[in-house]
């Protein structure tokens, strides 16, 4: 697996980010919300590698804690969207007929709105918080799982061993779970990895708009929107949280590309 350069690069980047996120508080010796009014807006130095913000909080510490939030929201969102998407994909592919048409119509509905806008509407209703952002991202982006899983199920259900299972009287549910799902699983893993970057980017966008995590939570989007006010004097506040987003997203893109090449080269997003 590690001979695949995309996978190896992605894995290394993600491992590094995860390590940083895990050690966040201990590694830097600061807390993400430790206010220090005598060290306000200090530029990057030995004591504060990435400088400090308007409350004198260590930016490096906050960026590391931000990785926790990005990873958490990303994983929750993708878990929910794959759960919804895979279930509907299996059902529509296997049952066909009106059920399939109804499900396909609903997937068309989610594609009728730009995801950020739909997520904005949903998060407004649920109230701004990190978990609600995850839910709203999942609600707008499960459809691609349905599309892929449905196509796979359609071709799988024609295979002789499925027919055999049907003829000995196995129920539809048991066929789906025992025979079709395991065969679709590798594609789901690839798709889930490829969905993480866009989930993370949407999270930061919603955070930036003030619809996600609320201060003092060290969400990268929130940090960037706070940093704008100090762009003239403390440009590091506008730079480093963004660099962190790009690093994590590039990491997952590589990981996903690598998995795609290794497992299922035909999957498209």
């Amino acid at each position: 697996m590690f001979k695949n350069p995309s996978f190896a690069t992605g894995f290394a980047v993600i491992a590094l980010v995860a390590l940083g996120a895990a050690l966040a508080g201990h590694a830097t010796g600061y807390e993400f919300d430790a206010i220090n009014m005598s060290e306000v807006l200090k530029s990057p130095s030995r004591a504060n590698w990435l400088g400090t913000d308007q409350y004198g909080r260590d930016l490096f510490t906050r960026v590391l804690f931000g990785a926790r939030i990005a990873l958490r929201v990303g994983f929750i969102a993708v878990a929910i969207e794959s759960l919804i998407g895979v279930t509907l994909g299996l059902i529509s592919g296997y049952l066909g007929g009106y059920v399939e048409r109804a499900i396909l119509f609903v997937t068309d509905l989610t594609w009728a709105m730009p995801p950020v806008i739909l997520a904005m509407a949903i998060v407004t209703v649920l109230g701004p918080s990190v978990n609600n952002v995850a839910v709203s991202i999942a609600v707008v982006s499960w459809a691609q799982f349905t599309r892929v899983v449905r196509a796979k199920t359609l071709s799988l259900k024609e295979l002789p061993y499925i027919e055999a299972a049907e003829s000995i009287g196995e129920s539809g549910l048991s066929i789906l779970v025992r025979y079709i799902l395991p065969n679709v699983a590798p594609s789901i893993i690839v798709l889930a990895t490829l969905s993480l970057p866009s989930a993370i980017m949407s999270t930061t966008a919603l955070g930036f708009l003030g619809l996600g995590a609320q201060p003092p939570t060290p969400d990268w989007g929130v940090m960037l929107s706070e940093g704008i006010s100090y762009i003239e004097d403390a440009s590091w506040l506008s730079v480093f949280p963004g660099v962190a987003i790009v690093v994590l997203v590039v990491g997952f893109n590589f990981l996903g590309e690598g998995l795609r090449e290794l497992i299922d080269p035909r999957i498209k997003l």
């Binding site: 009728a112 730009p114 950020v116 739909l118 904005m120 509407a121 949903i122 209703v125 762009i231 963004g242």
Partner: protein, 312 residues
């Protein structure tokens, strides 16, 4: 031709159904919002009686389904209601903002395709050259950059450090440069990758070899045989990404305080100004569905083989 007309009609009807369903769903979702605009407006300062009167006046006392039907009936006559915050006519508010958003979106589209197609063509033709590798690698980074952060970086570089462009708002053509770039640059990456891979695929096809064997000039082969055939998927993507651009512009408009529809939506969401939110979502849903419908139709015109696939 008759079959084609029927196909167009069916797609259009389906599109209308999608728009109606989306607005119905969003309408009911918005009704579930905790607390309504009147409480938000008046707080505890207004008497209970007065609150009830206002509720009735705005139709907020009716069940969501009825409110939706009211809204549809008004919409048919071009009436989207009035803003709860400013009492302005919603349709007028949106119409006033829409040109700014469309200006931004279409300029970004132009930049995106004018840059991406030549880059992708050259990278594909000279595959594995240094130029190709630079293009592919920078695309990896470019598509990972959130447009709002790109906007911040551009402000930092061109407005704060170099003082070349205004930071925000709309003050003539020069204030377009930075927002357009922040929307277009990340999208160039995807379009370039698509163009490149299509070019690579087309170059391996037999008709290109035939053209070479006939002794056609290389430039002619490039334009007539390779570029033209590679453009089918790219032009479809054009229509499919248009809504994404509009969505992306919400965030970028906020960064640059751009007086467009996106920033209006953002402000209305913060103020829970239902009529405005509903109006904007309707407009965006219509734009999106029109784009994807036109995309399907164009695709079926460009490549008749795909027609069956489009329908399913």
């Amino acid at each position: 031709m008759n079959g084609f007309f029927a196909f167009v009609l069916r797609r259009a009807l389906y599109g209308a159904l999608v728009v109606l369903s989306v607005t119905a769903i969003l309408f009911s979702i918005l009704q579930m919002m905790p607390g309504d605009a009147i409480e938000l407006l008046g707080g505890n300062r207004i008497s209970k009686n007065r609150i009830e009167m206002m509720r009735v006046a705005w139709g907020l006392d009716k069940p969501p389904a009825i409110q939706y039907l009211y809204w549809l009936r008004n919409l048919a006559t071009g009436n989207m209601g009035v803003s709860i915050m400013t009492s302005q006519d919603v349709a007028k508010m949106i119409l006033g903002r829409l040109p700014y958003t469309l200006l931004l979106t279409f300029l970004a589209l132009a930049v995106q395709y004018l840059a991406a197609i030549p880059l992708g063509l050259i990278a594909g033709v000279y595959r594995d050259s240094l130029f190709d590798r630079i293009c592919v690698q920078s695309a990896v980074i470019l598509r990972a950059i959130p447009s709002f952060w790109l906007g911040i970086l551009l402000i930092l570089l061109f407005s704060v450090k170099l003082r070349l462009f205004p930071v925000s708002g709309y003050s003539g053509l020069q204030s377009l440069v930075l927002p357009v770039l922040s929307i277009a640059l990340p999208l160039i990456a995807d379009t370039m990758r698509l163009t490149r891979s299509e070019v690579v695929e087309t170059m391996a096809e037999k008709h290109v070899t035939t053209a070479r064997a006939k002794g056609l000039r290389e430039r002619l082969i490039l334009l007539r045989h390779i570029l033209r055939n590679s453009m089918v998927p790219v032009s479809v993507m054009f229509f499919l990404t248009l809504p994404w651009l509009i969505g992306g512009s919400v965030v970028v408009e906020t960064v640059f305080s751009w007086p467009g529809m996106g920033r209006l939506l953002w402000r209305s969401v913060a103020q829970q100004d239902y009529p405005v939110i509903q109006g904007i979502i309707f407009v965006i849903a219509v734009l999106t569905v029109v784009c994807s419908t036109v995309g399907d139709i164009v695709l079926s015109l460009l490549d008749p083989r795909i027609k069956g696939a489009v329908k399913s």
